[in-house]
């Protein structure tokens, strides 16, 4: 039951009632077939209502769900022969970012992703998926290696943001993010970025300068966490739900604003309900996008990536 979201409570309660009735019927030898059928029909209807209109704030909670599949889960499920590589060659190995070699239907690729922990101990080792500069520098090192050996790059984005700590600042958090933004633009291989959970601010974007950015249906991507926005706007971090609506952070918002190219549907109730199907659907999206990008020349790839970001922005001119 720990896997259920608050907005699913009504469904869970109803499922419990149906099961109780079934058990009661079989124990006492009473036939409740009609009642059960009626309840099942109501359950279906309720399920439809609950899952067809998931609000932005509910998506925020789904995107942060502890049981939601992580980058490593998807890497294992989508690719074969994954070989993890470590370290930035400058300072250390940041476990908040994982990366390495893998094969997509036999094609060698470089995969990189933010990595949240599976439990408290793992989370502490991985700084809850919030990278230090060495994490971003490891990612860039692997991407430049991919560029050298002409391997497409697939990144998985899932972070609350870059780690806000004094040591991260001392080692140049700003520089590490800025350098990734600039140097990813110069890579001569296709880059596909998949936002699988929470895309939080500069720490997300530092793996997000791709030719194609795709998002899972319930993933979110934002300049500021809804909690942070709420505490700035209303001096009240508990109004995160309200901020989540105002900030337009859902996949459908981002598709409409032409920030992303594609939405990958999620299994009913979220990615954590069915990892196998979810991984399959992501794989299909990656294959489709990659086959288009592999048709392009190096110049076209660079031009395509530049134009994608160059056109973002809304402004007008005041009459003088």
């Amino acid at each position: 039951m720990a896997n259920e979201m608050p907005f699913e409570t009504a469904l869970v309660e109803m499922r419990k009632k149906i099961d109780e009735l079934k058990q009661f019927g079989s124990e006492k030898g009473i036939d409740f077939t009609d009642e059960i059928a009626r309840l099942e029909a109501r359950y279906k209807q309720l399920e439809e209502e609950v899952y067809t209109n998931i609000s932005p704030s509910q998506k925020m909670h789904l995107a942060r769900h502890q049981g939601r599949p992580t980058s490593l889960d998807f890497i294992q499920a989508i690719f074969t022969d994954f070989m993890e590589l470590h370290g930035d060659r400058l300072f250390g190995d940041d476990m908040a970012i994982v990366g390495g070699l893998a094969k997509l239907n036999g094609l060698p690729v470089t995969v990189i992703g933010h990595q949240r922990g599976k439990d408290m101990k793992d989370n502490i080792a991985r700084f809850f998926g919030s990278p230090h500069p060495e994490g971003f520098r490891k990612a860039l090192r692997l991407m430049q290696q991919a560029d050298k050996f002409n391997r497409p790059i697939i990144t998985f984005i899932d972070t609350k943001g870059a780690y806000p700590g004094n040591t991260a600042e001392e080692r140049g958090q700003s520089e590490a993010i800025a350098r990734n933004l600039r140097d990813m633009m110069l890579l001569r291989v296709p880059i596909i970025c998949v936002v699988i959970g929470e895309g939080g601010s500069g720490g997300a974007l530092a793996l997000g300068v791709g030719n194609r950015v795709i998002m899972l249906e319930n993933a979110i991507y934002s300049a500021i966490s809804p909690n942070g926005a709420a505490s700035i706007l209303w001096k009240d971090a508990s109004k995160a739900d309200q901020a989540a609506e105002a900030l337009k952070i859902t996949a459908s918002d981002l598709l409409r604003m032409e920030i992303i190219e594609e939405i990958v549907p999620e299994p009913r109730g979220g990615a954590h309900k069915d990892l196998t199907s979810q991984a399959e659907w992501i794989k299909m999206a990656i294959e489709k996008q990659l086959s288009e990008l592999r048709e392009m020349s190096t110049e076209q790839l660079l031009e395509d990536r530049y134009n994608k970001f160059r056109k973002i922005g809304k402004f007008t001119f005041d009459e003088v």
């Binding site: 700003s174 600039r182 300068v209 934002s222 922005g313 402004f315």
Partner: protein, 301 residues
Amino acid sequence: MLKDLFQKKRKYATVPSERTVRTGGAEEGERPKREIPEGLMNKCSKCGTIQFTKELEKSLMVCSSCGHHLRLNARDRIALTVDEGRFFEYDANMISEDPLEFPGYPKKLEQQKTNSGLSEAVVTGEGTIGGYPVVLAVMSFDFFSGSMGSVVGEKVTRAIETAMQKKYPLIIFSTSGGARMQEGIISLMQMAKTSAALAKFHEQGGLYISVFTDPTFGGVSASFAMLGDFILAEPGASAGFAGRIVIEQTIRQKLPDNFQTAEFNMKHGQLDMVVHRKDMRSTLTKLLDFHTVKGDVSHGE
């Protein structure tokens, strides 16, 4: 009744506040004489020393007592930086829209315009420094905390593109609280957009000097500000990615007073030089001079 026993009674005499007296019919001429005319004096935001604004302006808004570099509006900064204050501005009338229909954003933009006298948080254009033509972008903290939305991103990108076309060096004075929250994801993407333009400029061999002024954080720090071939900062200017308060909450420790100051950042290898405001023009001129091909080794004596 028992209740009456505990009734709260106000036993204070009400004295009308100064404001009520004034608006309550007093003549303008009756204002208290100790008031100082607007703008005559200025108080240092660091040490609290009060000094004549005229004196402060003469010292380029640097406190005579503690050396604190007071924040400058973009217009004042440009006047201090380019030769004879001559500046040709680009995209002066580019203004923000409200792409997310964010509650209260258009009204807040209007307020920022009135308060700062600027149309956005960055002014871009060209001028000469020590005789060298440059493309200059100067941010202003007094407009929306220097936050980067679509207009800041676009104006900076266009400035970079112009520097590329004209083959002029690029100089950016940054100051910013980070991304413009009211433009959400679009403001985040301006980091990628400006960095992309700098990638092209970098490939072309363009010269870019970045100057950190107080304060520069978040999305601006983690994009174009940190990508200079040369990175300078004014003394005491604080800069970083995350702010002090957020970090203190995360690590549950008090940070030292000098945390994220220019001197701190220099010590940690993030900057080339800390440059006093009075030396900024000459330092920039020197750097520009280094990148102008002159002389010939083969003919050296």
